[in-house]
């Protein structure tokens, strides 16, 4: 049998998340068990958390908190919506949500790509540390709070206080931004940024359909990088 076609089925109405995760964690590099189909997730928490192998996990339905938490290498495809903290602290790999994502999507993630077809709630990309997050819908308030590195691309609108206390992450928003948080400012879109955005469009499967020029870029004014009495009101 071809390595890439070996698939496993996991029904979470008859087996547990623990059984699923321990099977996923047991995968060794070069394992040919590369496709995992998970059914009946019913909003259960920590589905496919801590995976450290280049496998594909397809989840048929909505997941609870922390799906794909701390993911390394895996592709996790969710045919439904995701609860709080999806792909939190992801290091690498790809997490794709067909529905909406709840709060703190991609929180503190260091790498990989998080693609959300629907909307993301508050605090999307909070404290992000290198991940690329793409949201085809809109994002809630306080998104990219203290975002350190990586990109957050939003095709819809952003809620209040976008990028509050942001460090070096780059934010691209096509729609409206209700308000910018402390130390977050609009920045010039140069060619390098348009090129970066174009890469995100490819990931989202919309390259050629949207003009990067429709987006605005936001980032840090870097005024809060050093404690200074005149900035006291901003902290």
């Amino acid at each position: 049998m071809n390595a890439s076609t070996q698939s496993h089925a996991f029904d979470l109405s008859s087996s547990t998340v623990r059984e699923l995760n321990s099977a996923l964690h047991a995968l060794k590099e070069g394992s040919n068990a590369s496709l995992w189909r998970v059914t009946n997730p019913r909003g259960l928490h920590a589905i496919a958390a801590g995976v450290d192998a280049p496998v594909t996990v397809e989840v048929d339905g909505p997941v609870g908190y922390y799906c794909g938490g701390m993911n390394k290498h895996a592709t996790i495809h969710i045919r439904g919506s995701a609860g709080v903290g999806v792909a939190q602290n992801m290091m690498s790999g790809f997490v794709h949500i067909e529905g909406d994502a709840s709060q703190a999507a991609g929180a503190t993630a260091h790498g990989g790509t998080l693609l959300i077809e629907g909307n993301a709630a508050a605090r999307c990309g909070i404290s992000m540390k290198g991940v690329d997050i793409i949201v085809k819908g809109s994002i809630g308030h306080m998104s990219a709070f203290m975002a350190q590195a990586g990109t957050l691309t939003v095709f819809g609108d952003a809620g209040e206080a976008l990028g509050d206390s942001i460090y070096e992450a780059r934010l691209y928003v096509r729609g409206s931004v209700k308000s910018l948080g402390s130390d977050c400012v609009e920045k010039e879109m140069r060619d390098e940024h348009k090129a970066q955005l174009f890469e995100r469009f490819k990931t989202a499967g919309v390259d050629g359909q949207i003009d990067p020029g429709e987006f605005k870029r936001y980032g840090s004014a870097r005024n809060l990088y050093h404690f200074h009495v005149d900035n006291a009101g901003a902290y």
Partner: protein, 449 residues
């Protein structure tokens, strides 16, 4: 010399009198604030006098209880942490652990020395805000990995390398506060580990980014257990403010171990106003945390670690007698490594302070090379020698605690109990919930004077 003594015929007059309210320290702070416009930031814990373990005394054995023979009869000191859910609980030879202190706040050699000293004595060290270093993992036999709001350097590989995970909700020095690490200490290595630009004044969040409240914490703990295949003990650390409820909620959320850190607990850098005015003393939180465990039928099943101002074996014995399973030390461990040592007096003077009072740990200029990222200064810490000093100190503390336990007739330090204690002051009696010495009075509870 006043006028009247110089000249006995002068009319008597009032002596200059300083205000107890507006004392010299207060006046200096007002002037400093007026000049700079910014609050004072410093390291270490609360410096004011607080009810503490010195206000408690142990009752040695007498006719009704007999003591154990000092050098012959065994007095156990081992402790097992994480017996509730973890497949691999932690076994320590002594009930004194090293508290979490970040790489960044401490130098690499200081972290290595902590690992060496603790490992020699069969106890654990703890990472801190800023991730796990090779210095510490390499030299610490048992290493607790902190899971903090900032998640600096957090990654699944290090989580798997750790022996336990400590979810940090708060610290005694600043319950409700986040971290800070000033630019002087954000060296290229520290910046890289934290994914931050070099040299900036780093703020770290006070709340976890992806959970708030006890119900979410329960799910977060479940996730951490899933990621680590239910192997590793999970601690929850809180700064002492509402220890009864925090302990109960941590247990409900599924913690294996609860760490309660009192207001004397050290910090690497926090606003002075926070250190001195937020939170409650260590003495005031132990009984309430133990009560929460007892009410839930979890005392000794979920272990309790207490920290904040632990200095010697007497403090250890008293904390255990009040119901803790172990203690953690931060400041005292740094002193054992050489912090505030008189041998650097000249350099402390140049910094405008003196050995014993130096607390500007955030500035990165530590003459002892411990709270710094300066490559020259940190060479002053010889990790092997400093580690040996820490091991000696831990050994003395353990012997002292055993001395007291044997005198109270206990064959294990965990057999110490509140009945072995009395208080010297009414405040301590009320907080520790033991009688005032010579009475049967526990203020707010029993009897009368």
């Amino acid at each position: 010399m006043n006028e009247h003594v110089k000249n006995p015929n002068a009319a008597p007059r009032t002596l200059p009198r300083e205000s107890a309210t507006f004392d010299q320290h207060t006046l200096a702070e007002i002037r400093r604030a007026a000049a700079t416009g910014i609050y004072d930031i410093r390291g270490a814990g609360a410096k004011r006098k607080l009810p503490h373990f010195d206000d408690l005394l142990m009752l040695g054995a007498s006719i009704s209880r007999y003591p154990l023979e000092g050098y012959r009869e065994k007095c156990g000191t081992d402790v097992v942490l994480g017996t509730r859910f973890a497949k691999k609980p932690i076994e320590l030879k002594i009930p004194i652990t090293i508290a979490g202190m970040s790489f960044g706040s401490l130098s690499g050699p200081a972290k290595e020395a902590l690992g060496r000293g603790a490992s020699q004595m069969g106890t654990s060290t703890t990472t801190g805000d800023g991730g796990m270093t090779q210095e510490e993992r390499g030299h610490s036999k048992t290493l607790v990995y902190q899971y903090l709001p900032s998640r600096y350097g957090m990654n699944p590989d290090d989580i798997r390398k750790a022996d336990a995970i400590e979810v940090v909700v708060g610290q005694g020095a600043k319950p409700g506060g986040g971290g800070m690490l000033l630019g002087q200490k954000i060296s290229p290595r520290v910046a890289k580990m934290r994914t931050l630009p070099e040299g900036i004044d780093q703020r770290s969040a006070c709340r976890h980014p992806d959970w708030t409240g006890p119900d979410d914490l329960e799910i977060k703990i479940e996730e951490l257990r899933e990621i680590t295949d239910w192997e590793k003990p999970i601690y929850v650390k809180v700064g002492a403010s509402r220890p009864y409820y925090d302990t109960a909620l941590a247990v409900k959320a599924g913690a294996d171990v609860v760490v309660v850190d009192g207001m004397q607990g050290g910090t690497a850098a926090t606003q002075e106003v926070f250190i001195e005015h937020v939170g409650i003393p260590t003495l005031a939180c132990i009984r309430n945390a133990v009560k929460a465990l007892q009410d839930l039928g979890m005392h000794r099943k979920v272990q309790l670690i207490v920290s904040g101002g632990i200095r010697n074996g007497a403090d250890v014995a008293k904390a255990l007698a009040l119901g803790a399973d172990a203690v953690a030390i931060g400041t005292a461990a740094l002193v054992a490594l050489g912090d505030n040592d008189p041998q650097w007096e000249d350099e402390y003077q140049k910094l405008g302070t003196h050995a014993g009072a130096y607390d500007d740990w955030h500035e990165g200029l530590d003459p002892a090379g411990i709270t710094t990222q300066n490559a020259e200064l940190m060479k002053r810490v010889d990790p092997v020698k400093a580690g040996r000093r820490l091991a000696n100190y831990l050994s003395v503390m353990t012997l002292e605690a055993q001395t007291i336990a044997r005198a109270c007739g206990k064959s294990h330090v965990h057999n110490l109990e509140p009945e072995d204690l009395v208080a010297l002051t009414i405040e301590a009696a009320a907080m520790a919930q033991v009688p005032l010495a010579g009475t049967n009075w526990i203020p707010g509870q029993t009897g009368s004077f």
